[in-house]
C-alpha cells in the first residue's frame, strides 16, 4: 500500500496508480484533456500538471505514478499560471467559433479557458484545413482539434481499428484518415465521445441544438444483448443524440455504432400509426376499438371451431419483458394454447438445450468481462465484435492484458486480425475442430487428472476416435501443425474461456457445436462459466424467461412457421419472420395459408404486408419496460418520447384484447405487471455433468452442383431487421450485398459491384457482389438485414438444431 498526501489529505493508493488516479478516486479535481480512463497514459496536453514537493519540475499527474510519501498540490499559483499558459498555447490556433460549434456548453477547452485562462491568446496562428464533408455520421473539423490524440488512441488502442491518426507534425498536424480519404471504419463513434472539443461530432446531431437545451435520460440499447446504457439527449420531445457516459452501465460508457446512431429507427418512415384491417384485399385504417373487436371476434370463432391449438403466437426478442410476459399469459389464458415461441428457437434455444444436456443447467448467462484475465481465449467461428460489439471489445482488452487469443474463423474479422493465432477454418466445420480438441485432450489424458464425471465418457471417447489431427486438418482446412499447436495451448492453459454465438441470423453452427464445446470444457474441468455464448438481442434472454416458448406440448416455431396448415391463426408480435428467419418461401407459404394473421409491430414489416390485421405498437423509448441482457440483468427502459400516432405498448394491446376475449388478465398497470414478473419462480438448477457425443455432419455440404457455401450473419452496423429502419445506420450501409473472395470472383467471372445470381436448392436471388479478401475461397458471406434481397429464401430451417449451412452456386448476371 502506498501512502501519499494530496492537498493536505493523507491518501492511500494501490501500486500502479498514477497521481491522477488517486486524485480522481478521492474526488480531488485535476484538469485534464488527453487522459482517458481506457487508455495508456499519454502525457500530451500538460493540463494535469501538479506540484510535488521536492521536485523542481511540475509533473503531469496522468503519467506520474503515485509514490510513497509524495506530497502533492493540485492547485497553487504556479499551477494556475502554468495551466493558463498551456491553455493560451492551445488557443493559438483554435478558431473561436464557439457560437456555431455544437460542442459549446459541454466543451472541456471552453470550460477550462473559462476557469483558468485567457479567452484569447496573446499569440495568433491560424489553421485552414477544410472541414471534412464526405464521411457518413462522423463530423470532423480539424481546425478545432487540440491534438490531444484521444480519438486516435481510442480508435486504435481500445477499438482495435486505427482508422484515424494525427497526420503531419507541428502546426500543420491534422486529425485524419491516412490519405484524407472518406472514412471507411466501424462508425462506432467512440472517437466522438472521446473528443474534448468540437473537432469531432455526430453528423446527425450537427446544428440541431445547443447543449444547454438538452434534457438527458438514460436508457438501454434496443439492439444487441449486451444491454449498454445509452444517454439520450432529448429536445422538445425528440431524441437528437445518444452518448455513452464514462463509467455508466454495463458498457461503462462504451458504445457501438448501432447503439449510438441507430436510435432513429423510431422515426423511420415505415412506422405504423393506426390499426389496419384488410378488407377486400386492401389494408384500411380503423379505430382501436374496431380492430380489437375484430381480432377478438375472429380468434374466438377460430377457437370455437378448431380448438385453441389452431392458434399460435410468436413473441419478440426486441420488446420488453412486460410485453412478452403479457403475450405468454394472453396465449395461455385467454386463448388457451401453448403454441408460443420466439426466434430464439433458431439459435439461443439450442445453446440452452446443449448446456442442459451437458452441464445439466437450464440457463447459462454470460459475464461481459469474462475474457479479461484468462490465459487462453478461444473464439469459435463467431464475429463477436459485430454481433455484440461491446462484449467483443473485452476480447481485445484480454489480448492487450496478455491473454492468448485463439480465433478459429474463416473470415478476416476484427478478432481474427487481432488474434495471437488465427486459424482460418473452413466454414461450418468448427464442430469437427472441437471434436479434434476433445480427442487430443483425451489422448493426452488431461481428464484423468481432474475429478470429472464419467457419465458418457466412453461414448465420447468412441465418438471422437476418428478426429485425429490429420482428419481434422482435412475436414477443417487448418494445417495439422497449427491445429496441434492451438490444441496444446488451449489445453495446457492455466485458465481458459471458449466463446461463440449461435443465433437465428447465423447458419454455420448449431447445437452440435455447443455440445462439442461443452464436452471439451468439461474434460478440462471447466464449468459452464467458461462457455460464453450470449443471447442475441436486447431481450432474447428475457423473452425466454417470460415463457414465450412451448412449456408443454405446444407447437414451437418450426411447428408453426415451417409446417404449413398446422395452425389457422397466428399472432406475431414484434417479429418479421419473412426477413429474419431461414427458408422465406416456406414461411411465406405457411403465412399465406393462414385464416388469420395478426401482426403487432412498430412498422410495416414484410410479414405485416401479408397480415389481415395490423396493430401499431409503441416502440422502445415510447413506452416503459424492462430488457434483460445476456448476463440475465434486468434493466429499466424508460418512456422518453411520446408514442408515434395511435400506437400503444404491446402489453397494453394484449391486456385490452384479453378483456374483449372475455378473459380479464387482471394486470391493470405496469406496476402490478412488474410485481407479477418479479414474483416468477427463478430458474434454478444444479449442475450435473455428462458428456454428450456430438458428431459433425453438414446437412448441405458443398458438392459438384452447389460448390460454394453461403454463410449468413450480422454485420457491424446492423442488427437483424430492425436497424435498417434507422436513417443514420442506413447512411453507412443500406444495400444488400454478398462478399466473395477474389479467387472465386475470378473463377466465376464476378466483378466487384456487379450483380450475381446465387442459386440454392430452394430459390435464387440477385444480389450485388463485393469482392473482399476477408473471405476465403469457397465461401460467400451475406448479411441478413436487407429485406429486399430476400437472401433467406436460399437458406433452410434445421428443426434438430444442427447447423444449416447452405450450399449454393453462382451465376454472374448476363
Amino acid at each position: 500500500m502506498i501512502e501519499l498526501t494530496i492537498n493536505g489529505r493523507k491518501l492511500q493508493a494501490r501500486k500502479g496508480m498514477t497521481i491522477l488516479d488517486v486524485a480522481r478516486e478521492n474526488n480531488i479535481y485535476i484538469p485534464h484533456l488527453c487522459w482517458d480512463r481506457r487508455l495508456k497514459p499519454y502525457g500530451g496536453c500538460r493540463l494535469c500538471l501538479v506540484e510535488v514537493e521536492g521536485q523542481r519540475k511540475l509533473m503531469a499527474s496522468c503519467s506520474s505514478p503515485a509514490e510513497n510519501g509524495m506530497v502533492v498540490h493540485t492547485d497553487t499559483p504556479a499551477l494556475r499560471k502554468a495551466r493558463k499558459t498551456v491553455l493560451e498555447l492551445l488557443l493559438v490556433h483554435h478558431p473561436l467559433d464557439c457560437p456555431i460549434c455544437d460542442k459549446a456548453g459541454e466543451c472541456s477547452l471552453q470550460d477550462l479557458a473559462y476557469k483558468y485562462g485567457p479567452s484569447q491568446s496573446r499569440f495568433y496562428g491560424e489553421r485552414k484545413h477544410d472541414p471534412e464533408a464526405t464521411s457518413p455520421l462522423i463530423d470532423r473539423n480539424p481546425n478545432r482539434c487540440i491534438l490531444c490524440g484521444r480519438c486516435v488512441r481510442v480508435c486504435w488502442e481500445h477499438q482495435g481499428v486505427g482508422a484515424i491518426n494525427l497526420i503531419g507534425r507541428g502546426f500543420k498536424t491534422k486529425v485524419s484518415p491516412a490519405f484524407e480519404e472518406t472514412l471507411d471504419c466501424e462508425f462506432c463513434g467512440q472517437c466522438i465521445d472521446a473528443c474534448p472539443v468540437g473537432a469531432l461530432g455526430a453528423k446527425p446531431y450537427k446544428y440541431r441544438a445547443r447543449a444547454w437545451f438538452l434534457e438527458s435520460r438514460d436508457s438501454i440499447c434496443p439492439y444487441c444483448a449486451v444491454g449498454c446504457t445509452l444517454t439520450l439527449d432529448v429536445r422538445e420531445g425528440r431524441i437528437l443524440r445518444v452518448r455513452g457516459v464514462d463509467g455508466k452501465g454495463v458498457n461503462r460508457g462504451d458504445l457501438c455504432g448501432k447503439g449510438r446512431f441507430g436510435f432513429d429507427f423510431i422515426y423511420g418512415d415505415s412506422r405504423l400509426t393506426s390499426p389496419l384491417i384488410r378488407t377486400d384485399g386492401e389494408l384500411k385504417e380503423v379505430s382501436w376499438e374496431e380492430a380489437l373487436h375484430y381480432v377478438a371476434g375472429r380468434l374466438k370463432a377460430i377457437k370455437e371451431e378448431h380448438g385453441p391449438d389452431a392458434i399460435g403466437a410468436i413473441g419478440s426478442p426486441r420488446t420488453t419483458l412486460e410485453d412478452n410476459y403479457m403475450l405468454a399469459r394472453f396465449m395461455r389464458e385467454a386463448v388457451g394454447t401453448d403454441n408460443l415461441d420466439t426466434s430464439a428457437r433458431l439459435g439461443y434455444a439450442w445453446v440452452l438445450k446443449g448446456v442442459e444436456e451437458t452441464y445439466g443447467i437450464r440457463l447459462n448467462p454470460v459475464r461481459l468481462d469474462s475474457p479479461v484475465g484468462k490465459d487462453a481465449v478461444l473464439v469459435i467461428e463467431s464475429d463477436i465484435t459485430s454481433t455484440h460489439p461491446i462484449f467483443g471489445l473485452k476480447f481485445l482488452e484480454a489480448k492487450l492484458n496478455g491473454s492468448r487469443l485463439l480465433v478459429v474463423e474463416p473470415r478476416k474479422t476484427k478478432l481474427a486480425r487481432h488474434a495471437s493465432a488465427w486459424l482460418r477454418i473452413r466454414p461450418g466445420t468448427s464442430t469437427a475442430f472441437l471434436n479434434g480438441l476433445v480427442r487430443y485432450a483425451l489422448a493426452g489424458g488431461v481428464h484423468l487428472k481432474k475429478e470429472i464425471t464419467t457419465e458418457g465418457l466412453e461414448e465420447l471417447q468412441e465418438s471422437v476416435k476418428d478426429y485425429t489431427p490429420q482428419r481434422v486438418s482435412e475436414m477443417t482446412g487448418i494445417a495439422e501443425d497449427d491445429f496441434t499447436e492451438a490444441a496444446r495451448e488451449f489445453i495446457t492453459a492455466e485458465s481458459r474461456l471458449l466463446a461463440m454465438t449461435v443465433s437465428a441470423a447465423e447458419n454455420q453452427k448449431g447445437i452440435e457445436t455447443v455440445r462439442a464445446a461443452a464436452n471439451l470444457l468439461m474434460l478440462l474441468g471447466e464449468g459452464p462459466e467458461a462457455l460464453q455464448i450470449p443471447a442475441d438481442y436486447s431481450n432474447t434472454y428475457g423473452a425466454w424467461l417470460m415463457g414465450v416458448r412451448p412449456l408443454g406440448k405446444g407447437r414451437d416455431l418450426y411447428g408453426m412457421l415451417y409446417s404449413p396448415g398446422a395452425v389457422r391463426a397466428l399472432y406475431v408480435m414484434g417479429e418479421d419472420p419473412l426477413v429474419t428467419m431461414p427458408d422465406a418461401d416456406r414461411i411465406e407459404e405457411a403465412l399465406k395459408g393462414l385464416d388469420l394473421l395478426i401482426v403487432q409491430d412498430i412498422r410495416m414489416s414484410e410479414t405485416a404486408k401479408l397480415a389481415d390485421v395490423i396493430l401499431p405498437a409503441a416502440s422502445w423509448a415510447e413506452k416503459e419496460g424492462t430488457f434483460m441482457n445476456a448476463e440475465g440483468l434486468p434493466q429499466p427502459v424508460p418512456k422518453v418520447v411520446a408514442a408515434t400516432g395511435d400506437s400503444i405498448a404491446d402489453w397494453m394491446i394484449l391486456r385490452n384484447l384479453a378483456r374483449l376475449m372475455g378473459h380479464d388478465l387482471g394486470s391493470m398497470d405496469l406496476e402490478t405487471l412488474q410485481d407479477e414478473i418479479s414474483g416468477l419462480p427463478p430458474e434454478t438448477g444444479t449442475q450435473r455433468w455428462r458428456f454428450a457425443p456430438s458428431d459433425w455432419r453438414l446437412k448441405e455440404g458443398p458438392d459438384a452442383e452447389y460448390p460454394v457455401v453461403l454463410v449468413t450473419g450480422n454485420i457491424m452496423q446492423h442488427s437483424g431487421a430492425l436497424s435498417v429502419m434507422s436513417k443514420s445506420l442506413s447512411h453507412v450501409l443500406s444495400d444488400a450485398f454478398v462478399q466473395i473472395s477474389p479467387e472465386d470472383a475470378a473463377k466465376f467471372g464476378v466483378e466487384d459491384g456487379g450483380f450475381i445470381r446465387i442459386v440454392s436448392r430452394r430459390d435464387s436471388v440477385f444480389i450485388k457482389a463485393r469482392v473482399s479478401d476477408e473471405i476465403p475461397e469457397g465461401m460467400l458471406f451475406v448479411p441478413v438485414h436487407f429485406a429486399h434481397a430476400r437472401v433467406n429464401a436460399l437458406t433452410f430451417a434445421s428443426p434438430d438444431g444442427t447447423a444449416h449451412l447452405t450450399a449454393v452456386r453462382l451465376e454472374p448476371k448476363a
Partner: protein
C-alpha cells in the same frame, strides 16, 4: 528477398510490430527515395498495422520524404553552430550553382536540398549529409569538390 519479407524479418527483432515501424519505413524509402502511398501500404500490410498508424508516424519524422526526391539528397545544417561557421553562404552557393532552392530538386533530378536541424556535428561545423554520407568542415572551396562526386 521481397520487400514484405524483408520487413517481416526485421519486425522479429522488435518486441512488437509498432517497434519495427521506423526501420520498416526506411526499408521502403530506400527503394524509391520517398514514401509513396503504395510504399506506406506495403508497410501497413507487412506489419499488420492500420494505414493511419503508418502514415501518422511517417509524417511526424522529417527523415521520411513524402514526395519524390532527386537521386541524391543533400541535407545541410543551418543551426547555430553551422550558421556561425558560414552554412548560409553555402546554401547560396549551392542555389547559385545548381539552381537548387532549399526544399527543391534540380531539374535534372540530380540533387534535392533539405535544410536540416542539427545533425550533431557542431564541433566540425558546417556539416551536411549527402544521402547517408557525412561531410564536415565544409567551405566554399571544398563543397563542390564533394558534391561533384555524386552523379
Amino acid at each position: 528477398m521481397d520487400i514484405m519479407d524483408e520487413i517481416r524479418d526485421l519486425s522479429r527483432k522488435y518486441p512488437d510490430r509498432r517497434g519495427a515501424l521506423l526501420p520498416a519505413l526506411y526499408v521502403v524509402q530506400k527503394e524509391a527515395g520517398w514514401l509513396s502511398q503504395e510504399a506506406l501500404d506495403t508497410v501497413s500490410r507487412a506489419l499488420n498495422l492500420p494505414q493511419a498508424t503508418v502514415k501518422g508516424v511517417a509524417t511526424f519524422y522529417a527523415m521520411y520524404k513524402h514526395r519524390p526526391m532527386g537521386r541524391h539528397l543533400i541535407q545541410l545544417c543551418t543551426n547555430v553552430a553551422c550558421m556561425i561557421m558560414g552554412a548560409e553562404r553555402l546554401v547560396d552557393l549551392i542555389s547559385g550553382r545548381y539552381g537548387l532552392e532549399p526544399g527543391g530538386t534540380t531539374d535534372d533530378g540530380r540533387f534535392s536540398l533539405v535544410i536540416m536541424e542539427c545533425i550533431g556535428a557542431c564541433d566540425r561545423a558546417p556539416a551536411m549529409l549527402v544521402d547517408t554520407d557525412f561531410h564536415a568542415d565544409l567551405t566554399a572551396d571544398n563543397i563542390f569538390e564533394i558534391l561533384e562526386k555524386y552523379e
